[in-house]
């Protein structure tokens, strides 16, 4: 198992842990942070590939993901603030307006 595989495995692990966090943690803020973790996992894999292939494509994508992550947080935080203002809780189970 060489360096690349270790880094890729780490990226998979980060992504998986982030996803698991989204699924099992009930605190909305923690869920948001887990999403950030997922993005970081993806970034790591992109940087690894980019580094190995000597191509800038991966780095460019990473940069774009930074922007997306920033934008995501910029919108997600106000939404969370509003939800909290409505129900006075951070517990996700309190919100079921997506029920079909």
């Amino acid at each position: 198992m060489d360096k690349i595989q270790v880094l890729l495995a780490l990226s998979v692990a980060l992504f998986a842990v982030g996803l698991l966090g989204v699924v099992i943690r009930r605190n909305m803020l923690v869920m948001l942070m887990c999403m950030e973790l997922m993005l970081n996992g993806v970034n790591l894999s992109l940087v690894t590939f980019s580094h190995q292939l000597g191509s800038t494509v991966g780095a460019v994508l990473v940069f774009l993901i930074f922007v997306v992550a920033t934008a995501e947080i910029a919108i997600a935080i106000p939404i969370v603030l509003m939800l909290v203002r409505q129900k006075h809780t951070l517990d996700l189970n309190a919100f079921t307006s997506l029920k079909g």
Partner: protein, 631 residues
Amino acid sequence: MKHALTLIVLLPLVGFLLNGFLATRFGGNRVGKGFVTALACGLPIAAFLLTVACLVRLQEAGYQPLVDTAYTWALIGGRSFEIAFYFDRLTAVMTLIVTGVGSLIHVYSAGYMKEDESYARYFAYLNLFLFFMLLLVLGRSLLVLFVGWEGVGLASYLLIGFWFEDPEKAAAGKKAFIVNRIGDAGFLLGMFLLYQTVGTLDMDRINAAFNGATLPAVSASLVGILLFIGATGKSAQIPLYVWLPDAMAGPTPVSALIHAATMVTAGVYLVARLSGIYLHAPEASALVAGIGAATAFFAATIALVQTDIKKVLAYSTVSQLGLMFVALGVGAYGVAIFHVTTHAFFKACLFLGAGSVIHALSGEQDILKMGGLARKIPVTFVTFAIATAAIAGIPPLAGFFSKDEILWFSFASARGGSTFLWLVASAASLMTSFYMFRLLWLTFFGASRMSHEVEHHVHESPLSMTGVLAVLALLSAVGGFLALPHFLEPMLPLPAVVPALHHHERTLIGIAIALAFTGLAAAVFLYGGGARRAAALRGRFPLAHGLLLGKYFVDEAYDFLVSRPLLWLSDRVFLRLGDRVLLDGTLNGLAAWAQRTAGSLSRIQTGNLQLYAFLALAGVVAALVWTWAHV
């Protein structure tokens, strides 16, 4: 003038477009009646003059056909479909009839339809008809001919149902259209077969292919019969003749132009134009002659007892068309075209005369409610009488010559002439003479049977109508001296006559004349003295009279044998079983199934975000596992 032929065709179309878009309610009535009349009558006359010019050019060119390729319609795999016009002797005759008689009838219509509120629409339709009819006779390719063929059907439908507020008249239009469709199926099949084997649809090339050294690898009789099925529809032959009598629902000039002089002769023209095929198709020719003779005979019997002036003329038309097909069936194509021409003259004159009578009587069409009109509308009477004598075959009027030649060739032609054919045709001829003079007597002689009010209003028609009648009567009188079969002979040679029968020619002429006068005498005898003898005859044979009056109940039989089963099939099988149960049932079932499954699946939508995330995760895992397992 390079594109003179195209111009002939397009002139009426211009009239249709201008009148249709400017003068009708659809176009906002932008122009007045004077404009409509000038345009609608002027353009056909211009087309007629152009045709005469073309004829002169044809003569100068030593009767080498003029070809005018207007447009390449399609190029498919190296084969081109062109809209080309072709002008030879046969086309010349047909085009002159169409534009000449057409122009006359346009002029007549200007007087006849003066009071109609859809004046411009009428003329737009009439010009449209003329356009399609010219396309039909001038087209070089069967394809162009077919466009014209369908187009005249459309124009006929529009004009039969011209007064569409009356459901009966609208239904007559639909009937004409639908019955023609049945014939068109045969026409199309014949066309496909020809294209497949000959590789072209140009009619001169098809004729050349059949006259060449090696015959095309197709049964000429099969093609001939298929095309003839189309002709039976358009030219009102058994079994598809039923639409023509109903077509009398249209305005009378329309009956004269479309349903007597021009459109219904399209079938005759088609067979004559493709005579190259029929020369090699003895079976098809025999069928044509047989159907023609049968139609001539049965239609004549029906005409004997009809009391509607236009219905008598309609059945007479069917009968005369039958005679033309007899001529075609025995190979006398030129004679058939000759009869088309003379028939166009006298039948147009008769219909227009009938129109003048109807006009004079404020719409009355029943000849039992007429009588004694000879003094009151003398011009109409004289022209009607001349045309009647012409159709009856009184020498030396036009009908005598053409009909006599038909009878002669039906007897003596080496291409399927026979005594039986001659007998049937002669019987039809005798009946023609009888019912036409019966019509003349009931309408114009004897005591008046009109109601007082109608009688009070009787008036002679305006000059635009009587003038046209006079011209047509003149043509009916002298049209027989045109010697058209001779003119067409280089193109459509007359059939050989069985040598042994040659010496009978004078006898047959004598018999034909005798038959015409017998019919006249019988009509005068039965209907001369107040029609008492006719009533007595009717009393003696009530069954036969009822059968004839009911037109052999063919419409009822068709209704019972074809329409009802079709209706039943459509309703029960296609609508109730096919559409409602199978199609709707399947669709509704699918929709209900989708609704049910969606309903049960929607229970997953708890609104819990984490469940959604989990399901996404599960989906991704499943996709990954599947990918590893399969890629």
